[in-house]
């Protein structure tokens, strides 16, 4: 590793003899680490007067000058009277400048440190408060968006930005087709393969199709799609809106009287609700195709036979149970994504932090809501 200390010979020195502190050589930053250690070991000794003579110093920079001043202060606080600190003529202004600005002179003492346990407690409390504020904030935002949506439905002509919405459908829906399709297909393959292996033990391989159909339509299709979309589009919402905040574009819009919910949030929410619902249906189909292919290759079930068995196993209700969740998940993902975007502060690190938070929160909420749906459906007996 490069070091400023290699550059110079260790030639700075000091000694204390007969009541005189003498220093010489190059008192520069290159020597400072060594000088610092030696000076800390300096005996403050008796309380007789001491003179400081640094007029033999060849070169002095602000770090070296600081060390001299600090030494003088240490001697003084040990009860010794220090007569003039002599330095070469050309360095007097540097020394005076530093002395005038001595930070320790008006330093405020640091508060006592917290004990580790208290600190932990403090952190837990702080995080709890933060989570509370966060939840409260999103709830407030939900209220605002609901009101604005109501106004939009009342007069859609005026408030709906149709072009922006279509643009969002393209970005969040059509561009996501390849990745959602591929992953759903693979998940279908995996589910079918695992089911076949397990059910074979009971000679009930044909039940694979039932399992595949129900899992894919009720849970996997919508859940996989939502998680992919949260990572893809939720984060994009936060980053887009956040960057606009950093550039003061949001401020500009507000001063022009443009409503940010109408122009930025509603097109994203409505666009994502439409995209995610359609993507879920598409993911269901791709998952069934993947599982179906697995059944064909592993069990030799032909496609007409597969479809017949599937028809027995699932009903329209099974599909609807999955599909009905999609708009709710889409709403949550878009809401969290936009909300966090508006929380961005005007610095570079903030966009990254909030984008991460937006993805974590929306995936968390999607899974929690999915569990809530399961409980609700089982109570309703669907």
């Amino acid at each position: 590793m490069a070091s400023i200390e290699n550059a110079a010979e260790p030639d700075a020195w000091f000694k204390v003899e007969r009541g005189v502190f003498t220093a010489g050589g190059r008192w520069t930053i290159a020597q400072s680490a060594r000088l610092d250690q030696q000076l800390r070991g300096l005996e403050t000794g008796s309380n007789e007067a001491i003179a400081m003579d640094a007029s033999g110093i060849e070169r002095l920079d602000s770090t070296g000058a600081w060390l001299l001043l600090r030494t003088r202060r240490a001697l003084e606080s040990a009860g010794r009277t220090v007569s003039a600190l002599k330095v070469p003529e050309r360095y007097t202004s540097l020394l005076e400048n530093l002395d005038r600005n001595d930070p320790t002179r008006h330093a405020h003492p640091r508060g006592p440190r917290m004990s580790p346990w208290r600190y932990r407690l403090y952190r837990i409390g702080k995080a709890t408060m933060h989570a509370g504020h966060q939840g409260w904030g999103i709830l407030g935002y939900l209220g605002r968006v609901t009101v604005e949506t109501g106004e939009m439905i009342a007069s859609p002509r005026k408030n709906l930005r149709f072009a922006a919405m279509v643009n969002q459908i393209e970005e969040t829906g059509i561009s996501a087709l390849p990745i959602v399709g591929l992953l759903s297909f693979l998940i279908g393959v995996v589910i079918a393969y695992q089911s076949i292996e397990q059910l074979r033990k009971f000679n009930a391989e044909f039940l694979t199709i039932d399992g595949l159909g129900i899992i894919t339509l009720r849970e996997m299709g919508v859940l996989m799609t939502s998680i992919i979309v949260a990572g893809r589009s939720g984060s994009a919402f936060t980053a887009q809106i956040g960057t606009m905040r950093v550039n003061q574009e949001i401020d500009a819009m507000q001063t022009m009287g443009l409503n940010t919910v109408d122009t930025l949030v509603l097109p994203r929410i409505i666009g994502l609700v439409i995209s995610l619902t359609v993507l879920t249906l598409y993911a269901d189909v791709m998952g069934l195709i993947g599982g179906g292919l697995m059944c064909y290759f592993n069990l030799g079930i032909t496609i007409p036979a597969f479809l017949r068995e599937l028809q027995h196993a699932v009903s329209l209700n099974t599909l609807m149970v999955g599909l009905i969740k999609a708009p709710v998940f889409a709403f949550v993902i878009a809401l969290v994504g936009c909300y966090e975007g508006f929380q961005v502060e005007r610095n570079a690190a903030s966009v990254g932090q909030l984008t991460t938070r937006s993805v974590v929160e929306s995936v968390f909420l999607v899974i929690v809501l999915d569990a809530a749906f399961s409980i609700m459906f089982s109570v309703l007996g669907i």
Partner: protein, 266 residues
């Protein structure tokens, strides 16, 4: 090294710190610098001015090695920059400090930590000494003591520049580059910043290379001015440049703003 030390005591003997010869810079077909020559002497404050797009910042970036020139040589402390490989460049970097336009402070670190970055990298100081040095530099640039614990986003524009200056001075450099140090400051803060730079330059014995638009700082603290005009550079003191007949230079120093700034200084 020894030779440069000696000449410091006799200021009339001119000792070149930055030597630029035949520098050519350009982007695509556009030539920005056409065979520039420039010398910067030890202990002086050189102001670099020029119209927007005349390549002031490009010149600065080329000297500090952020931009590779098409042609020409640049020597700093007698060593070629730009093409200098890793460790040799690092040795130069330890001897200069740079204040970027917006301060360029690391936003995830406090001001004190920002100042300690170069100390941690290049010295073996104890944490205690680094804390002391950081506090000393913070006081030196005129920031209040509690600024050290703050993050850059909590500081105003003027304070960010002071903090950036404190970081630039962390390794006690001999050469200081300033990129528009007073832009975006109100006239009073700009004035204070000029005074601060002049004071530090004197007491720390710095050589200062300053890109600026600010006529007031030019007249207040520079020894010489380098004007970038028509892809070439013209240097001289203010009085010399006022006699120059190049239209842009005439207009710059004799326009209403130029008059006001220069009148104030005399």
């Amino acid at each position: 090294m020894m030779a440069t030390e000696k000449s410091k005591d006799s200021p009339d003997k001119k000792d070149v710190i930055i030597r630029i010869r035949g520098l050519v810079n350009g982007f695509g077909h556009k030539i920005i610098h056409d065979h520039l020559d420039l010398d910067v002497y030890r202990g002086e404050v050189l102001g670099v001015v020029g119209g927007s797009g005349s390549g002031k910042s490009v010149l600065l970036r080329t000297i500090i090695g952020l931009n590779a020139p098409r042609e020409g040589t640049i020597e700093v402390f007698g060593k070629r920059t730009g093409f200098a490989e890793g460790s040799r460049m690092r040795k130069l970097e330890m001897r200069w400090g740079i204040l970027f336009q917006e301060g360029a402070l690391f936003s995830s670190q406090t001001i004190a930590e920002n100042i300690q970055v170069p100390l941690r990298e290049y010295t073996s100081m104890s944490q205690e000494l680094m804390d002391e040095i950081a506090a000393m530099k913070i006081a030196l640039v005129g920031l209040p003591p509690d600024a050290g614990q703050k993050y850059p986003s909590e500081l105003s524009g003027g304070m960010k520049k002071r903090a950036g200056l404190a970081r630039a001075l962390a390794l006690d450099p001999e050469l200081l580059f300033l990129d528009e140090p007073t832009s975006g400051l109100d006239p009073i803060s700009a004035d204070q910043f000029d005074k601060l730079i002049a004071e530090l330059q004197k007491s720390l014995g710095l050589t200062v290379f300053m890109v600026t638009h600010d006529l007031d700082s030019l007249s207040a603290i520079t020894d010489r001015i380098a004007v970038l005009v028509d892809k070439k550079i013209t240097t001289g003191t203010i009085d010399e440049l006022r006699k120059n007949t190049t239209p842009w230079i005439q207009e710059y120093f004799s326009g209403p703003r130029g008059h006001a700034a220069l009148a104030g200084s005399h």
